[in-house]
Amino acid sequence: MSQKNKSIQEKMTELTDIVSWFNGDSFVLESATDKFKEAEKKAQEIEDDLSKLKNEINVVKQRFDGAN
């Protein structure tokens, strides 16, 4: 897994964790604003990453026609 994509996946997991916190028993109103700002920042990072990432396509040199 590439570093960039792993990072997106990690960020998405972190975002999901924050969202789960809001819906879980640990939720306390006093921390909600900070958590919300953290989630917003994470979402923005994910969106930025998604718009920048490009695929890397390599045609392998190996021949498969039995000639080598």
């Binding site: 897994m1 919300f36 998604l50 695929n55 392998v60 026609d65």
Partner: protein, 366 residues
């Protein structure tokens, strides 16, 4: 006796020379005909005749060269070298045999499907899940094929950051199945395995797509250590490779859709998650407000009840005191007597309405 100008061969030499001539003239021939008298000897050697309305030729091959099931009555194309055997029998040594025509392709497909199904190659419990966010993917396709171009376009439109290693192979015609098998082996032998192996080919005729009904190829796909995704043909086409793959896509474009998520959808999902938080916060504020209100109501109720109890007790005491008031007792008809109770002394008697002076005439103990 006149000596002949023609060379005299031994039988063996003639057969050898004849075969050399045949090999020179027809190094490889392709013949289409119907299979008859098909039989397998010692589970190794395959004998059959290939015939049409007015001719028939003996054929020989090994079972290992058979890529698809064959039976009598099927129309086939054989790739073979003609040969005269040491017993003087003309025969075709078949290198490759493939069904020809819709009926035979279908028949061969059904026979192989039944065989592999019985072995459990298509069993649902064998299917593996593909990763949600693959980082490294292997693709087997012809890089010149339209299907491949569609796949790459959709892949790039939907997602980024994936390393895609592409094995360029022939995807139809003789030798294509072997090329794909070599590519499957190549990726499966890598030290660090790709996360998904995608096999791509656009639409085509039943004959074009018959490569994907090749038994060794179907087995190679089923045996791949890397989870497989097959995007071959159009939606209506279903090859045996489709059945053996972990995931089968309807088209190459659909394979790209299955392989990676759509970044637009992910962005929408992420923003949706954020949007869902505000109502949650408001809901919690409302819940806490209600909770505070309930606490306050409880406190008020407790205070009110304590006050009521105190008021009731006070009222009760007041009543008791009221009953003890001498004026109240006089109202009930009693009288207060003041002074010494001795004979001849004057005492004062107070009733509700009167104060009376009286002389004591007699005093007796009760």
């Amino acid at each position: 006796m006149e000596k002949s100008l023609n060379p005299i061969f031994s039988v063996s030499d003639f057969i050898a020379i004849f075969n050399q001539t045949l090999e020179y003239a027809y190094p490889m021939v392709e013949i289409e005909g119907e299979v008859a008298s098909f039989k397998v000897n010692q589970s190794k050697f395959v004998f059959f005749d290939i015939k049409d309305a007015s001719g028939s030729i003996n054929c020989f091959m090994t079972v290992w060269q058979m890529r698809v099931p064959i039976e009598d009555g099927m129309k086939v194309v054989v790739s073979a070298t003609p040969k005269l055997t040491q017993w003087g029998k003309f025969s075709l040594t078949v290198k490759n045999i493939r069904p020809s025509g819709e009926g035979s392709l279908k028949k061969s497909y059904e026979l192989l499907k039944a065989k592999l199904e019985k072995e459990g190659l298509f069993a649902p419990e064998r299917k593996r899940h593909l990763p949600q966010f693959p980082g490294r993917v292997a693709v087997i396709s012809s890089t010149q094929a339209a299907g491949y171009a569609d796949f790459i376009k959709i892949l790039n439109d939907r997602w980024g950051g994936v390393r895609v290693d592409v094995a360029h192979v022939q995807v139809q015609g003789a030798g294509s199945a072997d090329q794909i098998i070599r590519a499957v082996d190549y990726f499966n032998q890598q030290e660090v395995l790709p996360e998904v192996l995608v096999i791509i080919r656009g639409g085509g005729s039943a004959d074009d797509l018959s490569t994907f009904n090749d038994e060794p190829l179907v087995r190679a796909i089923a045996g791949s250590r890397i989870p497989t995704l097959l995007g071959v043909g159009h939606e209506i086409d279903e090859s045996l490779s489709d059945l053996a793959a972990d995931v089968s896509a309807a088209t190459p474009s659909n394979a790209a859709q299955i392989l990676v998520p759509d970044k637009k959808e992910i962005t929408k999902l992420v923003n949706g998650q954020i949007s869902s938080l505000l109502p949650r916060i408001l809901q919690m504020i409302e819940q806490q407000r209600q909770s505070v209100c309930e606490c306050l109501s409880g406190a008020f109720f407790t205070i009110e009840r304590a006050l009521s109890e105190a008021e009731w007790k006070l009222e009760s005491l007041k009543n008791t005191f009221r009953q003890l008031d001498p004026e109240v007792i006089l109202t009930r008809g009693y009288a207060i007597v003041r002074g010494a109770t001795e004979v001849g002394r004057v005492i004062e008697v107070e009733t509700k309405k009167l104060i009376i002076k009286a002389e004591v005439k007699n005093v007796t103990k009760k």
